[in-house]
């Protein structure tokens, strides 16, 4: 089997796992409280144990992951679109616009992300909506820089100059020649942004911004678990977090595989 086929198989497997977790979490009923099953350590019946209210931690973890995936995908998708628009505009507009965009990127990167997301989420009135907007407006900078650089490189090609000599408008060149070239970068950037978005989401939810406490988000689960650490209920914290780490590693791997496939140098190996 060639490396190409193996990479495609790996991508398919990861996508199936992620989609499975998402659908399972969305379809599942909330873990119900059952006081006869209170604070059980992990067993075959409850692989992740149960919490103080007797809720099955495996169910809660999958629901939380599903929520994280939704927030992460939405946030990184919108953020990547912003990055694409801003990056292309900066490189295409040159001069004043370019300077302004660079300044804007410096500005966004200068404020520690955690604080900026807190500020934006307060501005948007807290809740998951505020958190989502906060993550959207803090994660576009890196990708925008990459896209700007790529566009600058493509702009200097001869076929762009030829198109211009033929009297094509700037808009035509941008939509026909430049944006299609950016799509691979765009998708790779989006996937690689995804884990960051998830980690920021759960981190801020953990601090108490974002998801309301009755939602079984991973951040909520872990901040609840923190209160019972000293009583020795380690499974409340270890397993949900481990599941999150595995998710993040999988998505990272997905991004690398897609990169390998889309890069013409490594695609046919």
């Amino acid at each position: 089997m060639s490396r190409r086929v193996m990479t495609i198989a790996l991508i398919a497997a990861i996508v199936i796992i992620i989609a499975g977790v998402y659908i399972a979490g969305a379809a599942m009923n909330d873990a119900s409280a059952d006081f006869s099953q209170k604070s059980l350590s992990p067993s075959w019946e409850h692989p992740f144990g149960t919490d103080l209210l007797g809720r099955d931690m495996l169910t809660r973890t999958i629901k939380g992951l599903s929520l994280s995936l939704f927030v992460g995908l939405t946030a990184s998708g919108v953020s990547a679109i912003i990055a694409l628009i801003i990056g292309v505009c900066a490189a295409f507009g040159r001069g004043v616009i370019d300077h302004f965009v660079n300044w804007l990127i410096d500005l966004t990167m200068g404020i520690p992300h955690t604080l900026l997301v807190i500020l934006i989420s307060i501005a948007a009135g807290r809740g998951w909506r505020g958190l989502l907007i906060g993550i959207i407006f803090t994660h576009w900078t890196g990708l925008a820089r990459i896209i700007r650089g790529e566009v600058l490189q493509i702009r200097s090609n001869h076929y762009i100059a030829a198109a211009r000599k033929f009297g094509r408008s700037g808009w035509w060149i941008m939509s026909r020649h430049i944006v299609p070239h950016m799509l691979p970068q765009f998708f790779i950037g989006l996937i690689l942004m995804f884990p960051h978005a998830i980690m920021h989401e759960s981190g801020l939810t953990f601090l108490g911004f974002g998801m309301p406490p009755e939602q079984p988000a991973i951040g909520i689960i872990l901040s609840e678990a923190m209160r019972y650490l000293s009583s020795g209920m380690w499974w409340l914290a270890i397993f949900p977090g481990l599941a999150l780490v595995i998710m993040v590693v999988l998505i990272d791997k997905l991004g690398e595989c897609v990169k390998l496939l889309l890069d013409p140098v490594s695609a046919q190996e």
Partner: protein
């Protein structure tokens, strides 16, 4: 020389405009908020008379237009007055002053730890490039990059505090001991776990980055030549490797202040460490606007200082970048 002065002054102008923009944006964000600070305050402190509410509304200028409030706040800032914190009931500048010392100790410990050990591990990986040791450690580092700070903090607490009992459960000093009786050793003991947590992410970053650079250097022609002359691996690393990879590693460490600050918010919360980060999230949760704005502005200055040092180091240390600038 005049070129240098010109580039420095351009940089300064840029920093000042960025700072002004940060203050405008932060202020705008807070003003946009549908959360009414008066309402939040009254809910938190029931039993305030109507008369006092009116007096406080006037004192805080709640009913003035935002632009006017911004100018008032901005001119007070320039005089060094950051306002009074609502939750701590002390001037913001005082809180930042006392808490920054604690946060600085934490960040410095994490920063040095991740810098020194990350660099050492990175060198080790680079030296063993392609061999089992390298691929195992590299894989561990890649996984470390995917571990959220708040979870690893919890894991450290469970393993080292609850199970092994090596370290205390949080705070920066033992409970029930007067501040003047706390020994340095006790402080250090309380610092180790939060610092480890905070350094976790950047540690892997530094190691992977260093590895990449070292591999690049080791594949160069001058290293091949040095080996042909009979230099051992260690002396190649010492003479050719270290000098080339140290600058990017150091500048990278200085430009990571932003993540360091962001991470400290989370690490301090887990270990109930009384620093700036814990204060920032408390301020955010309880709508303590003056404190939150003060800490944000302070952190931005801190981050810009780090970036400026990184830029300056590049010019100062690397002989190639100074040559053209005479």
């Amino acid at each position: 020389m005049s070129r240098k002065i010109k580039s420095i002054s351009i940089y300064l102008v840029r920093v000042v405009t960025l700072l002004i923009a940060v203050s405008v944006i932060c202020f705008a964000l807070v003003s946009l908020s549908p959360i009414d600070p008066m309402l939040a305050y009254i809910q938190a402190n029931p039993g305030v008379s109507e008369e006092n509410i009116a007096r406080m509304e006037e004192f805080w200028g709640v009913n003035d237009p935002p632009a006017e409030r911004y100018l008032k706040w901005g001119s007070a800032l320039l005089h060094g007055d950051f306002g009074v914190s609502k939750i701590f009931r002390r001037p913001v500048i005082e809180i930042i002053g006392t808490r920054f010392a604690a946060t600085l100790a934490l960040m410095l410990a994490a920063w040095i730890f991740s810098g020194v050990f990350g660099f050492a591990i990175g060198c080790l990986m680079g030296m063993f490039n392609g061999r089992p040791l390298d691929s195992v450690v590299k894989r561990i580092c890649l996984i470390m990059c995917s571990v959220p700070t708040f979870w690893i903090g919890l894991v450290f607490l469970i393993v080292f505090s609850v199970w092994l009992g090596w370290f205390p459960f949080g705070m920066s000093v033992p409970v029930g001991v007067a501040p003047e009786n706390v020994t340095i050793l006790q402080r250090l003991r309380h610092l180790i776990l939060p610092a480890l947590t905070l350094s976790f992410l950047s540690f892997a970053n530094v190691a992977l980055h260093t590895r990449e650079k070292l591999v690049e250097v080791l594949h160069s022609d001058y290293v091949l030549f040095a080996k042909a002359r009979g230099e051992s691996n260690l002396s190649v690393l010492r003479r050719h490797g270290l000098r080339n990879i140290l600058i990017p590693a150091v500048t990278m460490q200085f430009s990571s202040f932003s993540e360091l600050f962001g991470g400290s918010v989370i690490a301090e919360n887990i270990f109930s460490y009384p620093g700036l980060g814990a204060a920032a999230s408390a301020a955010g949760l309880q709508s303590d606007i003056p404190l939150l704005l003060g800490i944000t502005l302070f952190s931005v200055v801190f981050v810009f200082a780090g970036n400026a040092i990184a830029n300056a180091l590049y010019v100062l240390i690397d002989p190639r970048t100074t040559e053209g600038g005479k």
